[in-house]
């Protein structure tokens, strides 16, 4: 079923009816989301790694300016699912994907999608802090430079704003020219968040962002997530149930490539509907 047919049936993507205008807009400015309209919608998503099916018929709507947590045992497909939104799975050989994945009403797997621009709009933070082996300043300026911002003044503004957003400005403002690798693990991860924010994304994907960090740094990053959700749609993959409850508004429980349950976090953790969810979150899995 293609998009237009689907749209004729039901307005699944929450788009307005003048989709013609929207298409012409897209041609003009490529992927540029409207500030109020970058919710994520996934329909019938199947994903294969060669012969292995990693995602089975996943359907999900993710609201903007909310934190959504993906939980589930290792290998359940939650990280894979996270990576479909910035098409990081493209980098894996033998990875095939079917279904419709839309962000802000646009098919991100359409032929005319510029993956670079998609990734600019859908930032990502990884499990292990991965600051580039360059200065703090250059790390933050990396994405703006990629997208053609070369003027020193402009970059200075972006660097300061991004570091402030990530709560790292006070700690680093006097050592911007120093190597980013000299920062502590928690600082490095906040630097990676700042680096992603510098690209001015609309969506922020976080793949177990605190699993390599100590409890204090974890707490700082969790607070940061709560602050950032006012401006960004955030999806976080986590193995830590407490983290899911502390930071997220909605939670999806994945098992063997399927979404078992997706609901408000309070509902999932106080009265899960599926026995498998209950078993997992209470630690009685298996």
């Amino acid at each position: 079923m293609n998009m237009t047919e689907l749209k004729d049936k039901v307005d699944l993507w929450g788009t307005d009816n003048n989709s013609k205008t929207r298409t012409s807009e897209r041609v003009a400015v490529d992927i540029s989301y409207r500030a109020h309209d970058y919710n994520l919608a996934v329909r019938d998503c199947n994903l294969y790694y060669s012969d292995f099916q990693a995602l089975k018929n996943v359907n999900m709507d993710i609201a903007q300016q909310e934190v959504t947590a993906f939980i589930g045992p290792s290998g359940c497909g939650k990280s894979t699912f996270l990576r479909i939104f910035n098409r990081m799975n493209d980098l894996i050989e033998g990875c095939r994907i079917s279904g419709d994945i839309h962000i802000g009403g646009q098919d991100i797997y359409a032929k005319d999608t510029d993956v670079s621009l998609l990734r600019k709009n859908v930032g990502m933070v990884f499990q292990k802090p991965n600051p580039f082996p360059m200065s703090i300043y250059d790390n933050i300026a990396y994405a703006p430079r990629t997208f053609g911002i070369k003027k020193r003044g402009e970059l200075d503004v972006i660097v300061e704003r991004s570091l402030k957003q990530a709560g790292l400005w006070e700690e680093t403002k006097d050592r911007l020219k120093k190597s980013a690798l000299g920062l502590s693990g928690g600082q490095q991860q906040r630097l990676c968040i700042a680096r992603a924010l510098a690209a001015e994304p609309k969506v922020l994907l976080m793949d177990e962002p605190t699993s390599a960090l100590d409890p204090i740094s974890t707490g700082i990053i969790e607070d940061l997530i709560s602050e950032l959700k006012a401006q960004y749609t955030i999806i976080i993959v986590t193995h830590n149930m407490q983290q899911a409850t502390r930071v997220s508004d909605k939670t999806a429980f994945f098992l063997l490539g399927e979404v078992v349950e997706y609901n408000k976090t309070i509902e999932i953790f106080s009265k899960p509907k599926d026995k498998r969810t209950e078993n997992y979150i209470t630690g009685r899995f298996g």
Binding site: E93, A143, C192, R195, A196
Partner: protein, 282 residues
């Protein structure tokens, strides 16, 4: 709980320790002997006349050879580094993992690495010197050496590229970089120390090479006028001198200089390797 070491185990321990010590000492002694031998026989004959700019049958100066060696190194590296680097970038960053093509290239480099240098000399003599008509020349020698050290450069560069954490690549891609930008702004800068170490190892090979050069660059003892002139590098110079009964002392003196150059190159390589390791994140 009996946690005492048995007698048998204790004796075996002593034996093994003694063996390792013995061999370590033997190796060290051999090295000391060679270095000592060269220094004792060479240093007294390091006369100023050996460093005159022009070679004559009287002074048998090694200065022209030192300069020729430098030229040979620079030209060979200019040829081999881009070739080797781009090959490795292709192999590591672009080629599909496990493709047949990559396997063939890997196999070929392995084989090239295992060929004795005299064979390269013979090939260079037949192909560059005769077939291409370059004659015994600086350029023919450099081309031959390029092929000889190419596997080394490819392997070290490959290792250097592979050792760059995938996290950097992922991070850069996730920020919207294209492949080219990822390779040239993120991967390559991080791999520079490793690549440099490889280049220095290659330099060492070039400086020490004789067999491949005798048939391709010849043995003309003075600085060549152009790329097509015959040259003798320091190693070849030493080989020539030792072939002539009258100049054994000068040969030793040359050996001292050669030893010194190789030592410097190795020290620099070690320093870079150390910098590489300390600069990387855990």
């Amino acid at each position: 709980m009996d946690i005492k070491k048995s007698n048998r185990k204790r004796h075996l321990d002593t034996l093994l320790t003694a063996t390792t010590w013995t061999f370590a000492v033997l190796t060290l002694t051999a090295l000391m002997f060679i270095v000592g031998h060269i220094l004792i026989n060479g240093v007294p004959h390091l006369t100023p006349s050996l460093f005159e700019m022009r070679w004559t049958t009287e002074n048998v100066s090694m200065m022209p050879s030192i300069l020729s060696t430098a030229m040979m190194v620079v030209i060979t590296l200019c040829l081999v580094v881009p070739l080797g680097m781009f090959t490795s970038i292709y192999l590591v960053e672009y080629a599909k993992k496990g493709s047949r093509y990559v396997k063939v290239i890997r196999q070929a480099t392995e084989i090239l690495a295992g060929i004795p240098s005299i064979v390269y000399g013979l090939f260079g003599s037949l192909f560059f010197v005769n077939f291409m008509g370059l004659g015994l020349s600086l350029i023919a020698g450099a081309l031959t050496l390029s092929i000889m050290v190419l596997p080394l450069v490819i392997r070290t560069t490959e290792e250097a590229l592979k050792s760059v954490s995938d996290g950097f690549r992922e991070g850069a891609f996730a920020l919207g970089s294209g492949k080219l930008r990822v390779v040239f702004r993120i991967v390559l800068p991080s791999a520079v120390p490793g690549i440099l170490a490889g280049v220095i190892l290659a330099t060492g090979r070039i400086v020490g090479e004789t067999a491949a050069l005798i048939f391709t660059a010849g043995t003309a003892p003075n600085i060549p006028q152009n790329l097509y002139g015959s040259v003798r590098t320091l190693a070849v110079h030493m080989w020539s001198l030792s072939g002539e009964a009258f100049h054994t002392n000068e040969a030793y003196a040359t050996a001292v200089v050669l030893l010194l150059i190789v030592l410097i190159i190795n020290t620099v390589a070690a320093a870079i390797a150390k910098a590489l390791n300390s600069g990387r994140i855990k």
